[in-house]
Symmetry: C2
Subunit: 350 residues, 2 copies
């Protein structure tokens, strides 16, 4: 292991000044062709590569050509797809991407933002956790651009990319109502997450629009893992008056619920074969399930691309007022959301 060569080394090897090497390496125009050749030869022989860290220190605008991506969980397909889209936009512009998962913990988010800023990221794309985000103001004041994605950040007025969560949930639940369901369960993630609140609000609004009162037994929040959802569906389906339809508020929960229903069906529990289901977020193989899964589909790649474009516009100097972009979702009708309630599932007569 040898010491990494510096410009000084290249300059000595090529018999020119350090400054000339700098010019050649940076591709500046006013250098004699023969000099360029000499320097490039030395660069090749020594395996020299410019130190971007040092360059960044001296350079006027202190632009590091790096952005930070702070999201909930990189292992979640939704965020992974979004991350890939962000990464592609970054590469197009010669930017590198630092990435980190917060697990929806505010403290982890703060630490991560702190570390990213210490490494001089030019901008941040953040999936904000629940809680106040005023701490980001200081970062923005010192020049770091910020874009929020999937959720707005509390207490912060910045560019934000979200989808029409509440409206989409309203449409999904309305579709269940249209097929004759009145006992519709809501199975959701932690309720302090903004998207969950919105989707739940859409659920309630749909029920209210038909004059149906919400029933606490049919509402479960805080399902973090697939197994939580699995347990929850067994629980609601075991109620004296079980729901005839389910609305699941993200992909993980949907997956857990499908597994739970599969287990009940196999155990021969009556009625579980015909319970209707609409999930938020599309999932792989949804159309191969029995019945095929109806979902509210959002486009994670488009969300990532949009956020990245907003961020790079800011980095390029855009000073216009913060924008809020709401992308549209669509209900993908495949079958599970169009099942009608069967007699044995109906609520007991008065």
């Amino acid at each position: 292991m040898t010491r990494r060569p510096t410009m000084r080394d290249v300059a000595n090897a090529a018999g020119v000044s350090l400054m000339t090497v700098s010019r050649v390496v940076s591709g500046e125009p006013r250098v004699a062709p023969e000099t360029i050749a000499k320097v490039e030869k030395a660069v090749r022989e020594l395996g020299y590569q410019r130190d971007d860290i040092a360059r960044n220190l001296r350079t006027k605008d202190r632009t590091s050509a790096t952005i930070g991506l702070v999201l909930d969980d990189l292992a979640n397909p939704f965020f992974a797809t979004m991350a890939r889209a962000v990464e592609d936009e970054a590469r197009r512009r010669g930017y590198l991407v630092l990435v980190g998962s917060t697990n929806d913990e505010l403290e982890r988010e703060r630490d991560m933002v702190s570390a990213f800023c210490a490494h001089h990221v030019d901008g941040l794309i953040v999936v904000p956790t629940a809680g106040s985000h005023t701490f980001l103001r200081a970062r923005m004041k010192s020049g770091t651009k910020v874009v929020c994605v999937d959720r707005p950040a509390k207490g912060l007025d910045v560019d934000t990319v979200t989808v029409d969560n509440q409206e989409a949930a309203f449409r999904a639940v309305t579709q269940l109502l249209d097929h004759g369901h009145t006992r519709i369960a809501f199975l959701g993630d932690q309720h302090d997450i903004w998207t969950q609140q919105e989707r739940f609000a859409g659920y309630l609004r749909a029920l209210a629009s038909r004059g149906i009162a919400k029933e606490p037994d049919l509402i479960r929040h805080g399902l973090r893992a697939k197994t939580d959802a699995h347990t929850a569906v067994l629980s609601v389906m075991g109620l004296p008056a079980p729901p005839t339809a389910l609305f699941t508020s993200n992909d993980l929960i949907t997956t857990g619920v499908v597994e739970g229903l599969g287990q009940l069906r196999q155990a021969g529990q009556p009625g579980t074969g015909s319970v209707a289901l609409i999930g938020f977020d599309d999932v792989a193989l949804a159309d191969q399930l029995q019945p095929p899964l109806t979902v509210v589909s959002q486009d994670p790649a488009a969300i990532g691309t949009t956020a990245a474009n907003l961020l790079f516009a800011r980095i390029a100097g855009d000073e216009s007022p913060p924008r809020s972009v709401v992308l549209l979702t669509r209900v993908v009708t495949r079958g599970s959301g169009e099942l009608r309630p069967v007699a044995e599932d109906a609520a007991p007569r008065p």
Copy 2:
């Protein structure tokens, strides 16, 4: 937008020298308690944060506390899960992670490694593309540690984490043979990828062990996208003598094939309901399919964790000879791999 405060600013505000601020910020022991208090007050008031980039420049060992993760595609659940595991190990040690997808293109990989090294990463975890990786030697000579994961790098002797691809494929195909299949199709990704070669070798070895000759019609390489797999399965099932079993060599292909089979079944094509299938890589909802999907399952999180541990050991100074860790896979038997060939699918009698 204000200029970011420096140590000099803090020193002026606290009425001490720059050096004292440096000591306080770095948590050095020999500073008077009152001085610490003064400095910390100034730090808080100015919102000062140490510039890790500058620090890194002067610091003796030039350790950036950053690693680079170079993988095939971050949107692929397999790599996303691996990435999350790497990220967790990095955070535990106070390291940041730069990430990038190569799309299996050597040039993109070279550019990315180059950019990561220019940003002074202490180490790289690389899913190497096909092609010679001797270019990594220069990086390693100048101190960057490298660990390969999922595949070995051609021409490079470094720590590598893989799974028992060939043996696993052999076992999977043998299981199909044990259930009476003789016409088994192989549906694979680009054949220049090492894992694909290994899995194909396992397939061939299993056939050979029963004296079954390989049949070119039943072998399809180069399926990059889900749609390729979809098309390919329609094609093989449309052969005059279609296969009675399929071996799919990664998660994407498996998904595409399941969709293709679903389409055929719906179209009422005879025999497609009973075609056996074993896929490499587990997929979500596999047990909810009809029939439930038998797969070769590997543990992407364990792979990522293992690779990260190897890398950080190297960064910590481990100089022992390169290690090659082979993690084990297991066949998860769920049903689709245990179907027996039915009469109408059998090859025509001579």
